[in-house]
Symmetry: C2
Subunit: 366 residues, 2 copies
DNA sequence: CGTAGACATGACTGCGCAATCATACAGGAC
DNA sequence: GTCCTGTATGATTGCGCAGTCATGTCTACG
């Protein structure tokens, strides 16, 4: 291939040899300087950097990757939706990846597409990523594809075959427990659960935490209603639950569903929280401002991502060093105005609260 | 560089020569088959594909990029937040990019970081992308950096220096007009505007549309309140507006701010929509389920992205062909329950509506 | 029957960089 | 001084693919 003249007649982008020539050194020395390798004198380093700056030199990543066998990029498989949870993970991942000197490649899965994860993974592997992050995975199709780079699984246990698998989890299950405890301690006889789609690990995690808390308190375990994370599904579930007058507390697996559920309760003439308490999960930005302000759970996306990524990078760069143990990240229950004691509970049922004036901690907003 | 033995002693990943050997052809022929080049017999094609499948062959993108001078990747600069708007654009972009056979590289800007766009762009150019998408830009720092690949600017006019700039816009300004018209036609004397940060083009666009509608109707132009897109800022603005009893209609530049604003009104004892009408922008998934269900605007993210990307790819692949003209994408006003005639307007003020049972079109949910 | 053209394939080369090895020179140990 | 070790640099090579050009085979048509 001969280098094409650029359309505008502009000069071709400079190569490392051009920098070398200008600095009066060899091409290899330029490479040494730019890779911060040892055994370069201060004087030469200076001259090379000056020459590079003068020419506006920029290393060719394709050549670097070809010569070194590493792309310095990390791929992420994420759900292709603008849901707050997945989007938050993704933004945190991008920042963290850039901070550790890698670049990010994204592949999304379409919800409901079986094999979506597999094909997204294949696309990333085709691109030659050095490592893969699987964000909020669901358990279909994975494991069928063999991944030959290290994998970081966020928010799920490592049920995966790859040379190295590391995980970062938030203590979501534990928190689901805490949520349920919170409601039971308010005096509710039991707590219903509006679960997320059960092929999602995070949904199963929350379900397990809820179940565990009910058992620990000796409370009855009502049937689980399953939604698809959307407010619409929460609304549908809410209509169903509203038919059962005995329901006094619901733990929804995310905030969107909680909001839809509340809507359905209001339309059915049931007041929140006077007649029924609702807790969400995620602490989406509007959670503090909907009516009533939503009691929910905030997950430490950024900390979990940073910690997991640090492990992944270590595995990529120093495969032989022992990994430090992983700690679950703490999660936080944010109590606002959508929870209260049950109507006939230990503390007497409240009168109708028209418009609550207090609302919870509004921070956590951008 | 000698090829390193893989840790597990697993066989090295195959190259095109390996495929060639197995198929009994030359390496170049393998390349021809995989690139769908002409002049390959059906028999040979078959044998090559079989051999590739048997070996699990996967082309090395770095080598491809180096040899061909193209990376087949597109970079996107996006705001590093989980706000619904930017996140929706990003997900649409990823899907569209994959559909046209490219891969996506993401670089985020941190809000409030001056030069953030410039450094995100630099990072993408370092990665050797063939084209760049600037999503929902703000006007700082851009233009200072010279971009030597085609650029697609989404949602803003092309104020940019690059070899080729294409744009895709949604008719947001026009829609802001329609929103304002809607409110004025309900009988409101005027409409207040809770604007987005004015360094965002999309925020300015909405402001301009609002202003234009007021002028056309001869309505007074009240002072603009500016928020930062967050529900928290909408809440703050709402408290401020609540002190002015004459405000009967507010157009918020996005749904999050609208929700915060409504919350503040409710806390101040003003009913929505009986006392004050509120319109948002974006149609976030929960918009149909908050109380009251939010009248808002739905933007055709996907269509705009697809159209713009098609142009970008054409510019990348066939720089000489004339570009077809761009059409603004239509936007859609979704009327729900947060708007009504003013209390003292032409149609008599309604009685207090406790819990509205009707809510708007709940589709558009995942 | 000869040759132009379409078709089909392979040999060779180079993309721009980093890895490897070779080289050169300094200073200290003996 | 000789040897060694550490430091600093350059020459050469090859990563895996696609571009270029050469070569061969087959058909069509004058």
């Amino acid at each position: 291939m001969t280098r094409l003249a650029r359309p505008g007649g502009s000069p071709p982008t400079p190569r490392s040899v051009d920098v070398a020539r200008l600095a009066g050194v060899s091409q290899k020395t330029v490479s040494r300087v730019l890779n911060d390798e040892p055994y370069v004198s201060a004087d030469v380093r200076r001259r090379v950097l000056d020459a590079a700056a003068e020419l506006g030199y920029r290393r060719n990543q394709a050549a670097r990757a070809l010569a070194s066998g590493r792309t310095r990029s990390i791929g992420v498989v994420t759900l292709g939706s603008a849901l707050y949870g997945p989007a938050s993970w993704l933004m945190g991942i991008e920042r963290a990846v850039r901070e550790v000197g890698y670049t990010l490649r994204v592949a999304t899965t379409i919800e409901g597409d079986p094999g979506g994860i597999a094909s997204a993974l294949a696309s990333l592997l085709d691109q030659g990523v050095d490592g893969v992050i699987i964000s909020e995975p669901i358990d279909e199709g994975v494991g069928l594809i063999s991944v030959d780079v290290p994998v970081l699984v966020l928010g799920a246990p490592p049920t995966f075959s790859a040379p190295q698998v590391v995980t970062a989890r938030v203590g979501a299950g534990r928190l689901a427990r805490a949520v349920t405890d919170h409601l039971l301690e308010l005096g509710h006889a039991t707590v219903h659960h509006l679960a997320g789609p059960q092929q999602w690990y995070s949904a199963r995690d929350r379900l397990a935490g809820w179940r565990e808390a009910l058992r620990a308190h000796g409370a009855d375990e009502p049937p689980v209603v399953e939604g698809d994370w959307s407010a619409a599904s929460g609304y549908a579930a809410g209509r169903e639950l509203a038919r059962d007058g005995s329901v006094t507390a619901v733990f929804a697996a995310n905030d969107d569903m909680a909001i839809g559920l509340i809507r359905a309760q209001l339309e059915a003439g049931r007041r929140v929280p006077a007649d029924i308490s609702v807790v969400g999960f995620d602490d989406i930005p509007v959670a503090a401002y909907v009516t009533p302000p939503l009691t929910t759970v905030r997950q430490p996306f950024d900390a979990a991502v940073r910690q997991g990524l640090a492990l992944l990078v270590q595995v990529i760069e120093k495969p032989d060093v022992e990994l430090p143990p992983v700690a679950d990240q703490p999660v936080e229950l944010v109590v606002r105005a959508s929870t209260a004691p049950p109507p006939q509970g230990p503390s007497p049922g409240r009168g109708r609260r028209a418009i609550p004036h207090a609302h919870g901690d509004p921070n956590g907003q951008p």
